[in-house]
Symmetry: C2
Subunit: 316 residues, 2 copies
């Protein structure tokens, strides 16, 4: 099969053996796969694939059609449209995954959207609800609202009755995130521009550690800060007394290396709490641009250049 | 009434007006009150009393007899033995508190123990169970096991089926905490001496920020670190990626400034989950030494000198 291959800090199309569906697994003919920040880190050699994932095929998500069901795999039939998150290997023509990490693709999503849906919605749902326990009526600050996870988080928070405030880099992005339901704040990393819209019950951090002290200052009593993205740097410095006085908490998470059972549990949560909203047309997957697999190198360069709104999808 | 009075970084006995029981309140003739780290900070002028508490009478806990019930206060009758946590004012002959922050004193506790019980057991219970959600079978590291909160946390964790490991400063303290149910580790602040007993599902931090990176290293997947005491310093530095990789969380809390309803809720939790164990003789309150109120200055000096095992109580 054809696959995106990481080789000496570049990504190019290459050939690999087509995997087979093991016990409990489905073999999927992939139609689309989103690109994520972790893929770029892996390309640079700074983020090895987790155990059980191919060492040199990136891709944390996929959408495609089931072509074969392994022994005991009964959730799907050949031809079904499925999508899901994986530890790697999504940017290829085929992938074999346990049937319980796969979700059905709602009819409302085309392939480009479906391949870009799982990572951002799983990450945003897990951070906002499983970890930070965001509830109706609460205020949530989303630092980095124009990226993939940011666009998903804004929409999920809005639908759950919370009040999302999203920081973005410029007025163009402010208009984009406002359409998704957020109060936009144009802000440099580490600025206090969003503080006037606080205090915040939840802060979803998609930019970096530079925002931590400002987040602590504008945190509400019993507030939660959730580290998901630290592209602007991971080194945190803070005063524990400030966290104690707020009775606050700081979470960190990455789904990439989470075990099969956690990925499966999260897929069930999304089927119950998120996919019905997709069916109802209430959630969108902003796709900034698509690239064919043969142009995977350009796709990564476009991602690395920044300034996009939403996701970049490979069509495979 | 006589009370401990903070005056220019010293604490001496002095006279203040006896409070009256307001609506929903009980007036308590205090028999005993523990000394806590926050009292020392307040003495030094670095920790002003929270709103609603007397500005110059320290004391975060009390035990005594009800002498009067205010309008609508029906939980207790005059003569009942009660104890509880407050934002201040516990180190005095009388205190008026809302009846819902008070708990009955189990028959198994004498006055010295009862006055030293509420703060350490409320703090340890809240940190381990409400915040960190410690469960049976989990390993918990208690950094600073020989202090008041440490001794309560060890016993509560042990009774709940968790495996407590406690760091202490010397072999004498090691023997003390071992008797309470902990695996003792003699360790300097910031050392990795406890790591061999990990990984830990929960770390209760009673020493300071200096332990944070070692705690992150020995944290289990989905582990929780809880900052309660930072006497050795509050400045935290850590790498968010380390927290994210463990899917961990860092909590901070202090009960002193928590609102009435949180203190009341915690009192109900202790009545249900902790006091039955006190009645059954399964929980102790190690009291290092008692002082009469007239010697409150010496009591604070003894507390500040360190090296104690468990609590120091004022008998009033």
């Amino acid at each position: 099969m054809k696959a995106a291959i990481i080789d000496h800090e570049t990504v190019h199309p290459g050939a690999r053996d087509t995997p087979a569906a093991g016990s409990g697994e489905i073999l999927v003919r992939i139609r689309s796969a989103g690109i994520n920040g972790a893929d770029l880190l892996q390309r640079r050699g700074r983020y090895p694939a987790p155990p059980g994932s191919p060492a040199d095929i990136p891709g944390l998500e996929f959408a495609g059609e089931v072509v074969e069901c392994g022994l005991g795999a009964t959730r799907f039939a050949p031809g079904d449209r499925v999508m899901g998150i994986v530890g790697g290997g999504g940017q290829a023509e085929f992938i074999a995954v346990h049937e319980r990490v796969a979700m059905p693709v709602p009819a409302a999503l085309d392939w480009a959207q479906a391949g870009a849906f799982p990572e951002i919605y799983c990450t945003a749902y897990d951070a906002l609800f499983t970890q930070a326990q965001l509830q109706s009526g609460e205020r949530v600050l989303i630092n980095g609202g124009a990226g993939g996870v940011g666009t998903a988080a804004i929409q999920l928070a809005h639908l759950a009755g919370a009040f999302p405030v999203a920081t973005v880099r410029n007025e163009k992005m402010a208009a984009h995130v406002a359409r998704l339901g957020a109060v936009p704040v144009v802000a440099e990393a580490g600025s206090d521009a969003a503080a006037a819209s606080g205090p915040f019950d939840v802060v979803l951090e998609l930019v970096g550690a530079v925002n931590l002290n400002q987040s602590l200052r504008s945190l509400a009593h019993r507030g939660r800060i959730c580290f998901i993205g630290v592209g602007a740097g991971p080194k945190c410095e803070f005063n524990a007394l400030h966290l104690m006085a707020k009775r606050g908490r700081i979470h960190g998470s990455t789904l990439r290396s989470s075990p099969l059972e956690e990925k499966a549990l999260l897929a069930r949560e999304l089927e119950r709490h998120v996919l019905p909203h997709v069916d109802a047309g209430r959630l969108t997957v902003p796709v900034d641009r698509t690239f064919p697999l043969d142009e995977v190198h350009d796709a990564y360069e476009h991602f690395a250049a920044g300034g996009k709104f939403g996701k970049i999808s490979l069509l495979i």
